[in-house]
């Protein structure tokens, strides 16, 4: 294909996106579009799978049967999200095994929020309320992103996330209406999860490297700072309703701007965790790598059995 042909294809491609048409796996697409989508969708899938670990940590210790069942179901939903996101990613010409390899080698990233420990039951509430709340704000715009399989997966993911967010808030509400000990547990969880949740929106706009291209492809519709602001404005009244305090002395309503002003995020902590030195980075990665390595003989057996069965069928037919 000549350079001119490629340029022509690129123009047609960009025009389709501008008209809000969906790009499907078999359509021609620029290599950079493919690679960017593999990176983002797999990062999202990995986050779902790693995200199972901090919550999975509380399944055996959930305080009631109802909570245990709801938590199991929630972690299972996350596995399901991982499954359809990996499938969406595979339509771009990469296998799930290759994606795992990227995760296990540290080449692919996942959301840093899951490198924080879950040390009390209230963390199950705080994760649902804050972490899933932040995830929804990041993800709702993706329901209209240009790549068809990703957009469709996100519609389902967002529906379930919104259910998880309400479930998390309801855990917080129950704690805040409970005893002093329970309320203290809820406050402590908010103290620990608030700032890491704000960091989920990524670096400030001035520092963000991918924004412009991602906007064009509708992988992003609002900037990191805009989304973070939206999250804060939406969450502060919810904390008020719970009767617990957001751990930011600089947080106050700005009448003129019609939004909250807030304090400085600790970007050193952000980069420390992103670079692999957070409280649980090693534990999370070890858990995934161990699950994968310990499961190798199982996957091999399934493959060998399927091959034997196929041969038996052929032998029977002939």
């Amino acid at each position: 294909m000549s350079e001119k042909d490629v340029k022509n294809l690129e123009e047609i491609f960009e025009a389709r996106i501008a008209r809000d048409e969906k790009i499907e796996p078999k359509d021609w697409m620029p290599e950079k579009y493919r690679q960017t989508h593999i990176r983002q969708i797999s990062q999202h899938a990995h986050s779902e799978i790693i995200g199972m670990l901090p919550e999975g940590n509380w399944i055996t210790r959930a305080p009631s049967l109802r909570r245990k069942a709801a938590l199991l179901a929630k972690v299972q939903d996350e596995a399901g999200h991982g499954l359809y996101l990996y499938s969406a990613c595979e339509t771009l010409g990469i296998s799930r095994d290759e994606l795992y390899e990227q995760l296990h080698s540290g080449k692919a990233k996942y959301s840093s929020i899951f490198n924080y420990p879950t040390i009390t039951w209230a963390d199950m509430g705080a994760i649902g309320w804050l972490v899933d709340g932040a995830a929804i704000i990041n993800q709702v715009p993706l329901c209209n992103t240009s790549f068809g399989p990703y957009a469709r997966a996100m519609v389902r993911v967002c529906k379930e996330e919104s259910f998880h967010q309400r479930q998390g808030y309801e855990i917080m509400l129950t704690l805040c209406r409970g005893t002093e000990e329970q309320k203290a547990m809820a406050q402590d969880a908010l103290n620990r999860w608030w700032w890491p949740s704000l960091m989920m929106f990524g670096p400030t706009d001035a520092e963000s490297v991918h924004t412009e291209q991602s906007m064009k492809w509708k992988l992003k519709r609002k900037s990191n700072d805009e989304l973070r602001q939206q999250f804060i404005d939406q969450t502060v009244p919810q904390a008020d309703l719970l009767g617990i305090t957001i751990p930011d002395p600089d947080l106050k309503w700005n009448e003129e701007k019609g939004q909250y002003d807030f304090g400085e995020i600790d970007w050193d902590e952000f980069w420390q965790v992103v670079k692999g030195h957070g409280p649980c980075n090693k534990e999370r990665m070890n858990a995934r790598v161990n699950a994968w390595n310990n499961g190798e003989w199982v996957r091999d057996a399934a493959m060998a059995y399927a091959e034997k069965n196929e041969k038996r069928k052929v032998a029977k037919a002939s």
């Binding site: 305080p63 049967l65 596995a79 991982g82 003989w297 199982v298 996957r299």
Partner: protein
Amino acid sequence: MKNLNLYNYILTIADNSLILAQRLGELCGHGPNLETDIALTNISLDLLGQTRSYYQYAAKISGEDKTEDDIAFLRIEREYKNCLLVEQPNTHFGHVIGRQFLFDSYHLMLMEKLQDSPDETLAAIAKKGIKEVSYHKRFSSDWVKRLGDGTEESNAKMQEAIDDLWHYTDELFFMTEAEKVLAEDGIGVDISTFKKKYYEEVSEILKEATLSVPENKYFAKGGKEGVHTEYMGYIMADLQYMQRTYPNMTW
């Protein structure tokens, strides 16, 4: 308690589901691949759902001011009536599958009988349970075959698990006082009636999976009368942690 035998009978069935659900819950996020992870969580959820129905019923007939959570979380270890099989650890995936298979085969036969109980609540729980447990059994038997007839390594591991767990199968058919009384009344199931069928069916699947059927002379028992293996205390420590640390609170 007026209905003490019925109460105990319900717990004998329900505690198996609770403890197995708890064991499977430990695995969530650590399976050999996503599909099996999701399937095992599903089984855990089904068992937990059944547990809740049984405990709600037991709480109601206890005549005391009890809830499903009191029954689940606030008994001492000696009061749990689950069989030893379901408390065995997730040593490796072969043990997870082996434990599931040996239990599911029994569980399905029990549900098929229990659905005819004149006790409407038990019959209804069993009827709903049959659909779920049939799926569990299909899943676990398929995996026994895959692992048994997969690679040399998987065959050895699956055999190891079956050999380890076989020791606990006989107890499935041990009848407690409550079970005997309820069976005589026609409300409960006489489990001894399907012991032979159980071993035949299980053996057949093991053979199909190219595994050998263990020939144990000795078996363990005690769980159904509250004498558990050493694993049980640690299961309790996790299960009851919140309720014991923060008593009398709403979650």
